[in-house]
């Protein structure tokens, strides 16, 4: 009957379509090109970071290809969107490794998405370079270093310590309130480090509150915090919520300093919170686009020229450096063999990058400096730069 034919037709078409799309990727690996897979959050909650990271990456690729590529071969990116979802991240890396046969995978941006892909990378012996994921668990699991996982940024324990020092020394507070994003490993991780460090120095945590991503209204929780009279409010979460928290806190009359971590770096922060409310706020970051260092200035100018005046966020800057880190490793490996690239990455020493010199430590984490950014009248200014010890 008509409907049975329709069903068969639909099923066949669906099968054929996927067959064709599958076949398309099965084409032989073009050995004149170095294929790097990119598993990024292009949509979903972490899209700001994912898209910025890809911007930085693409700029680096364009630059290196203009100079003739690596070992004479041009670099080609294969980008897959993991939609800021852990299960999709697993699918994405599976596709990149098995279908596209990439030699290394760049990304994702968030710690939870990275964790979802590590097993696949280890099963297939392909290295992953997570440019921005700061969770310690990315490279070290239960005391053992993951052989194929690397990152290009500092880790949250370092960031947490920097923030704790800032609270104790620069802001000289005796008690703080914590407002943590319970839906984020990253936020919880930093909060844990800060709490532990402060406890050792006798600074009390008078309030320990939580929220979830996508929350809009924090008045109730902030009222609770205000009643405890903290000398500083710590919000180690992402910009979208931090912006509203700062705004609503100020509206409720909370005037103490509010501090955060690298998740704050996004233009939407000062837009939504308002310049006036952002006074007396500080956050740790990987770099400042205001850094007077000439290498940073050149990068900022090139980025602006490439992307219509857009200011590079830390995600773009780290990915740019991360890309060069990977290119250098591929060059030293002398081939597109994933295992050789892995070894080369682990041996990176004193590589001169835009943000400074980078060496990979024994735990596959780079030793990098952090900056503290302050907001004055809606503009970012670099307060201090802290070297890794």
């Amino acid at each position: 009957m008509k409907s049975k034919k329709l069903i068969c037709l639909v099923a066949v078409v669906a099968m054929l379509t996927s067959l064709l799309s599958g076949c398309g990727q099965q084409s032989a690996n073009d050995s004149n090109v170095i294929k790097i897979g990119v598993n990024m959050e292009m949509t979903g909650g972490a899209a700001t970071y994912g898209t910025a990271a890809v911007d930085g990456l693409k700029l680096a690729v364009k630059e290196v290809n203009a100079k003739g590529g690596i070992n004479g071969k041009k670099v080609e990116l294969v980008i897959v969107d993991n939609k800021s979802d852990a299960a999709e991240s697993t699918n994405a890396i599976t596709k990149l490794i098995t279908d596209d046969k990439v030699c290394a995978v760049f990304g994702p941006a968030t710690t939870s998405a990275v964790l979802a892909e590590i097993q696949v990378s280890e099963d297939n012996k392909v290295p992953i370079l997570a440019p921005l994921a700061t969770g310690a668990i990315v490279t070290v699991d239960k005391g053992a270093v993951r052989p194929f996982a690397f990152r290009a940024c500092f880790i949250d324990p370092f960031q947490g310590k920097v923030l704790a020092e800032f609270l104790k020394k620069d802001l000289a507070v005796k008690n703080v309130a914590m407002l943590v994003d319970n839906s984020s490993d990253y936020s919880k991780g930093i909060a844990a480090v800060i709490t532990e460090d402060l406890a050792k120095s006798g600074v009390t945590v008078v309030a320990n509150e939580a929220y979830l991503q996508k929350d809009q209204d924090f008045k109730a929780t902030l009222t609770k915090i205000k009643a405890k009279n903290p000398q500083a409010l710590v919000v180690p979460g992402y910009a979208e919520e931090a912006a509203k928290i700062v705004k609503q806190a100020r509206e409720l009359g909370i005037t103490c300093p509010i501090v955060g971590a690298d998740g704050w770096d996004s233009p939407i922060l000062v837009e939504v919170a308002g310049a006036k409310n952002m006074n007396n706020t500080y956050f740790t970051n990987h770099y400042s686009s205001q850094d007077p260092d000439p290498a940073v200035r050149k990068f900022v100018e090139d980025f602006k020229a490439e992307y219509n005046g857009k200011e590079p966020s830390f995600a773009a800057a780290i990915s740019y450096d991360g890309a060069y880190l990977l290119f250098d490793a591929i060059k030293r490996a002398g081939s597109a063999d994933p295992e050789k690239i892995t070894a080369a990455l682990a041996n990176t020493k004193d590589l001169q990058l835009m943000m400074g010199k980078l060496s990979m430590d024994a735990n596959h984490n780079p030793l990098k400096s952090a900056v503290i950014i302050e907001y004055k009248d809606g503009k970012q200014s670099m307060k201090t730069k802290i070297q890794p010890n």
């Binding site: 409907s3 996927s18 979802d85 697993t90 279908d99 939870s112 319970n182």
Partner: protein, 313 residues
């Protein structure tokens, strides 16, 4: 009896052949791992769709919380293997039982609700389950539970899927199944005819939940981690779309729907919004132009037999 047994043996034989073909393809790497992933997903989706169909299609209880049962199965199963170091079999049984138990708990109080209210209540329950899981640090909270060993293989998934279809098909064709259909058609009339509607509605929920739980365990043990974000309202809608497309009340429809939509989903993986837009349009169009779905409420074998025997109902 004999004729049915012969028919079942024949179908089982075909399944065994199919299984062998696929398994050989995987073992000798003829079929790539991208395909393997999707075929396993198809089997899991079939289990989910068929179990949802029992509740929504055959018993007419509009449940929007199926993802919640899957979540329970997934987490309980993961706790068994990760925290208690038990084998997959135990995880499967535990996951199924817990999910079934919760299905029972949800089924009982929501009995009195009809149509829209039931839908919203089940949606509420699904969300409560997800949000509660989000707040429990022991099972990972908002970061999810990681480190789950990949114990799910094609064999497990395939044969559990066959088992699910077999059990639910037999359930439908029994007197319990007919009671469910009676409840769907006209609950008051069924009650008047002496059908214990309470008992059968709760039974449908519980059995549906049990199989959703099994699907959850299989899912968790394939993807290395379970995360609350995999079990949102959207997941329930994904399964609902499969059932609606295939036809509410048609098992073959759910199977075909699962196959078609899993592959559509894989092809559109790079275009997330377009996938959801297509699903949305599909739901609206199917409801307006062909509410009985692709296969309606007749099973495929019935239709083939009808055609062969010249249209006798």
């Amino acid at each position: 009896m004999n004729k049915m047994l012969k028919r079942d043996m024949f179908v089982l034989g075909i399944c065994a052949v199919l299984f062998a073909l696929f398994q050989l393809g995987f073992t000798f790497k003829i079929i790539g791992s991208f395909w393997q992933l999707n075929i396993i997903l198809v089997c899991i989706n079939i289990i989910l769709a068929v179990s949802l169909n029992l509740i929504n299609g055959y018993t007419g209880q509009f449940s929007l919380g199926h993802a919640g049962f899957m979540a329970i199965g997934a987490y309980v199963g993961a706790i068994c293997t990760v925290k208690l170091a038990l084998p997959l079999v135990v995880a499967l049984i535990a996951g199924a039982l817990f999910a079934g138990f919760v299905g029972l708990l949800i089924g009982l109080p929501t009995l009195r609700l009809k149509g829209d209210y039931l839908a919203i209540a089940t949606l509420g329950f699904g969300e409560i389950i997800r949000l509660t899981v989000l707040n429990i640090p022991y099972i990972g909270g908002a970061s999810g539970l990681t480190g789950i060993p990949r114990l799910t293989t094609f064999a497990w998934v395939f044969w559990l899927m066959i088992l699910t279809v077999f059990i639910i098909k037999n359930l439908i064709n029994s007197s319990a199944g007919r009671a469910c259909i009676a409840v769907r058609e006209n609950e008051i009339a069924a009650e008047a005819m002496g059908v214990n509607t309470t008992k059968y509605k709760v039974m449908a929920f519980t059995v549906g939940a049990v199989f959703a739980g099994i699907a959850g365990v299989l899912f968790a043990h394939y993807f290395y981690l379970v995360h609350p974000s995999s079990f949102t309202f959207m997941k329930s809608i994904d399964i609902l779309t499969i059932v609606v497309l295939g036809g509410l009340g048609s098992m073959a429809g759910s199977i075909i729907g699962a196959i078609v939509l899993t592959f559509v989903s894989a092809v559109l993986a790079s275009y997330a919004e377009w996938r959801m837009i297509i699903y949305a349009v599909l739901l609206i169009v199917v409801m307006i132009f062909r509410p009985q779905g692709l296969l309606g409420d007749k099973d495929l074998t019935e239709r083939i037999l009808n055609r062969l025997k010249g249209g006798k109902r």
